[in-house]
Symmetry: C2
């Protein structure tokens, strides 16, 4: 027996401070961001630390003209998208359209300084715009008191910034992990549905509409005001929409023609403006944006409103939209980083978003993040660094200084078509079907978000879906799926008896593999399940179980309740004349077993390094005379 | 190579309905309660089903006179405890003292019918009595409108019953598992502190006191009303307390003399009554209970108050106290069942508690469960079955019919001494210290409950502690502690390199063991941590990692995000020219990998049954000419 030289390592338990430090590191710094410069000299270290916190110092010195050419093209392309999107999403939040343009000027510069992603394009997002309107609109009507409403929007953007910065500095980017991919898919899909429905107002040219966002209210509103419908608007809307969808289809078929899709919204806006200006569209029922003044962002820091009446609603709006914006930004940033084989530090990204929103709230911008559509266009236009955001900001500055009034002729129907087309791309049918095929519970989580958002409201859908995800996480935790191991013939491997039906069970010895941490939430279950395994084993075979071996290789940690379960289990088994053996306990589990004196209670000889070794030990102690069958199988085993 | 005959089992994934049924069974019926009579004939099955749901039919036919002798003694002993405790705890809830006696008459009979524990003694509990007063007292003053207050108490008891029954029938006893042992220890300790402080009123003979329960308010109140203090009361209180503590000490030293401690509260009451009656104690500043009418429980079903004004508070009080009472009852029931090697079905117990409280609320009883102290006395008096509860009920009936007025002379100070003595026993210093030694986080959870309850309020303490427990559960889930495996020299075992420093690492091959389920909450962490392992390995050794093996033996399940992480990881590794291998995936994980086409992407040859086999496969594919060192170690390995 080659293994006999090695024993389970009963070293003295590590000190609390050691394990505590290690746990903190794993919890908050799993990617070990300071790894690279731990061994550097002070000056070098300082330089690298500054570079770490302000990434622009890292990439700018190595930046060159060749890269700038790529970024210039990408920056101009995303600006052509930023103008129509900015105006549209500001309308979605019921804000003056110019605020949407302001929001694509200042924040990109801030992101270029602090952001760590090379692919992200900064801008406003549809879902958060609508959610801001839904939340703040409930406190202050954007129609009756637009100034107060605007100030509350700035205030909630400020709180978003503070919240994001605080999360990032306390390394709580881990929170983002609790929004699962299924939740995001469902939430995006549901949001796309309700945003598309909101566009019916613009597409049909209605004057009145509902402020509710759920499917039922919107459809009711369309039927109520159907007489206001303008056929000119419908025709124009359909033409624009067909054009945009065709451009999208072209990109899908020929990825090289991505620019067709990227500039198509701008083309629609320009066409719309020309028609409205020269064709006197307004007289034919085509409403326009109107009122876009020249000039850069005015300072808005003195408009922040901390009135205690509105504080709860602005903080809530800031935190919720901040969280969603953050998830969208990090998710898209990570996706492209994975494709391009780069690393993105989630917590640093959150800090960059936070700074961006704080500065934004001082300069008449509202909530910005890294939107899916803009970032995708940025990547396919060939961006190489955050410089494309600088280009975007610069182009937007020129637009604000010279071109803004031109866009005041943009027809609302063009904006509605642009939003609808963008949103239709966000409903990911294939992904939902894929979820249904692979994991029904994930599909349920996705559908909860989808239907919750479309039929109730965005917060309800999100909460429902996150609640289900957490419930599932707790169920995973509460029901950790133990399994009975059997021996694969002619090997020394022990594997799940259900998964490998060819395994043979061992007379009088029951081997159970436990997975996942054992602690308060699952210890009662584990005790009852193990006792049931014993009953079932006794029912199935002629010989009674005399040894129970627990394979703890997969148990990464445990707590006091878990240890007490082992102690109780030992006592119960003693009453049944069954000996308990522990196989391959991990370091943290063994430490706690030692501290709680469990090792002393069952004795060190009950701990084994492998199932094979444990079974050999059990066979020696089994009464050979009473069990004549044990002898040959033991020999057989030794030969393996 | 003996293993070569066996392969990872790529069987067709099981149908959804099969896995769904299995998951439901593991979640709601882990103990498989119907196992015993699944194969019986219909009539037999019906009989056993009735016996299962109404356990009295199971044990009563086999009951005999010999067992009755034990239960008679136990029943009488717990009645002597039930009378003083009933009166005291009713005072704690600011109810007429007779309600406390009523509550030990009807519920024990109901429990004897439906309860599955042989050890539990039914009665009222201090913590819930105080909590009822704290919650309902905030809505209706027990001083100003005692009738309404009493009716609300009955109503909340009714809701407790409904809530418990519903939980039991929907097999949600799993909820109890989420209250960890540490939370219960801290909560009990904190409650004991505040209940003891409440007794200062009785012990000092004060007339005025605060209605707040937290330490600060109570100490302030004692100083404010210190002039009302009666020295006679203080002396009597100290004498009683010394006597009770001595009796408790005697029991601890000589367990055979348990009855000294068990009947000591009754002795205190009798002594107090005698002094109050013959010594005219009331004239010397010793207040008495007063007003205990003869007669059995009046019907109270028509007093249940479903007024919508009070509904929220009664439901809340009913649910919260019901949950705490349930946890206490199940915890104590399980503890003794484990000691005596019996099984207790948590869900059946909850149903029995529920019935007990519903019937109780119809018959002038308030919340009952299985209290720690009474159950412990019941066991040490030698109870054999639920018959001891029947005896308790019968004795209480006789008391109510004939003796009740006698107890109206009980001095309040005697009751205060009894409660204080009982509560001092609930502060478990040793357990707290033990928690501190073994698991610091468990200690924190315990202290959160302890200080939360003593310095704020009972709900706050409980919520704080449960919140921390859940946070910990989620952290376990979010940070699943992967480890790097090394080879134990001269064996074919691969173990945690940190735990077994003698292990050797393998040139160009990195083996990572993942534990616990992999899913949305931890998949980002796992991806980043694995990449960090690769960097660290590349930094530490001269040769680059060429093969990454993931040992998934301990990964019991996964979800869509987990699968996507594997797919992404495969892509990232491909970019780095590292080959990914999967070792021993469990059935559920492999099924999802197959459904998500991950198996097709990396190919079936990348799946291995054991680390040993995987490493041999990797060694064959490693370029031998470039790595002259690989050859000898491979030979060495083959020989092991």
């Amino acid at each position: 027996m080659a293994n006999s030289r090695h024993m389970v390592n009963f070293a003295v338990p590590r000190r609390f401070i050691t394990t505590f430090k290690k746990d903190c590191k794993e919890t908050f710094f799993p990617d070990d961001p300071f790894r690279k410069f731990r061994h550097d000299r002070p000056l070098q270290k300082f330089k690298k630390t500054v570079q770490y916190f302000i990434p622009v110092f890292e990439w700018l010195p190595a930046y060159n003209f060749r890269l700038l050419r790529y970024d210039l093209l990408a920056g101009i392309t995303i600006t052509t998208l930023a103008i129509p999107q900015g105006i549209s999403y500001a309308k979605l939040a019921d804000l003056p359209p110019i605020i949407g343009l302001y929001s694509s000027f200042v924040p990109p510069f801030i992101y270029a300084l602090f952001g760590s992603s090379k692919n992200l394009a900064v801008g406003t997002v549809a879902a958060c715009s609508l959610l801001l309107h839904e939340t703040l609109g409930a406190a202050v009507s954007s129609k009756d008191d637009p100034t107060l409403y605007l100030h509350l929007i700035f205030t909630s953007t400020f709180f978003t910034g503070i919240f994001q910065t605080a999360l990032g500095f306390s390394r709580l980017g881990i929170l983002v992990d609790f929004l699962s991919h299924s939740t995001i898919t469902g939430f995006m899909g549901g949001t796309a549905i309700i945003i598309c429905l909101q566009q019916l107002k613009g597409l049909l040219g209605l004057k009145h509409f509902t402020t509710d966002t759920d499917v039922v209210s919107v459809i009711k509103a369309v039927f109520r005001y159907k007489d206001e419908c303008k056929w000119q608007s419908v025709v124009a809307g359909l033409v624009f929409l067909c054009f945009l969808q065709t451009a999208r289809y072209v990109r899908q078929r020929k990825p090289k023609l991505f620019w067709v899709s990227a500039i198509s919204p701008m083309a629609v806006v320009v066409a719309g403006c020309l028609y409205a200006y020269f064709g006197k569209g307004e007289q034919h029922g085509i409403a326009i944006v109107g009122d876009l003044k020249k000039g850069l962002n005015p300072i808005s820091i003195h408009y922040l409103n901390f009135d205690s009446r509105y504080l709860p609603v602005t903080i809530r709006a800031g935190v919720v939209t901040g969280l969603i914006a953050m998830v969208e930004g990090i998710a898209i940033g990570r996706s492209f980083a994975i494709i391009k084989n780069e690393q993105v530090d989630g917590n640093k990204e959150i800090i960059a978003f936070g700074f961006m929103n704080i500065v934004g709230s001082f300069t008449s911008c509202y909530l910005t993040t890294g939107p899916f559509s803009k970032t995708a266009v940025n990547v396919s236009s060939g961006c190489k660094s955050a410089m494309s955001n600088v280009v975007q900001g610069a182009c937007m500055m020129l637009t604000l200084l010279f071109l803004a009034p031109v866009f005041s002729y943009t027809p609302l129907v063009a904006l509605a078509a642009i939003i609808t087309s963008a949103m239709l791309g966000l409903i990911n049918y294939e992904e939902m079907y894929h979820l249904f095929q692979v994991d029904k519970f994930d599909f349920l989580i996705c559908m909860a978000a989808f239907f919750g958002v479309s039929f109730k409201s965005m917060d309800v859908g999100l909460l429902l879906s996150v609640g289900l995800s957490l419930l599932r996480a707790l169920l995973y935790v509460a029901r950790p799926a133990p399994c009975k191991l059997g021996k694969l013939p002619e090997t020394s491997l022990y594997r799940d008896a259900e998964q490998y039906p060819e395994t043979t069970s061992l007379e009088g010895i029951l081997v159970i593999q436990l997975g996942s941490p054992i602690y308060f939430a699952n210890c009662t279950y584990i005790r009852e399940r193990i006792l049931r395994y014993i009953y079932e084993e006794n029912d199935a075979s002629q010989t009674e179980v005399e040894h129970l071996l627990l394979d703890l290789s997969g148990v990464s940690s445990t707590d006091m309740s878990g240890i007490e379960t082992f102690i109780e289990l030992g006592r119960v088994l003693k009453g049944k004349n069954i000996k308990l053996g522990i196989v391959n306990p991990r370091i943290e589990v063994l430490e706690k077993m030692t501290l709680a004196k469990f090792v002393n209670v069952i004795g060190k000889q009950a701990f084994h390094l492998s199932v094979e070794e444990a079974i050999q030990y059990c066979r020696f102690t089994l009464d050979d005379t009473r069990k004549p069958t044990a002898e040959p199988s033991f020999r057989n085993d030794d030969a393996a």
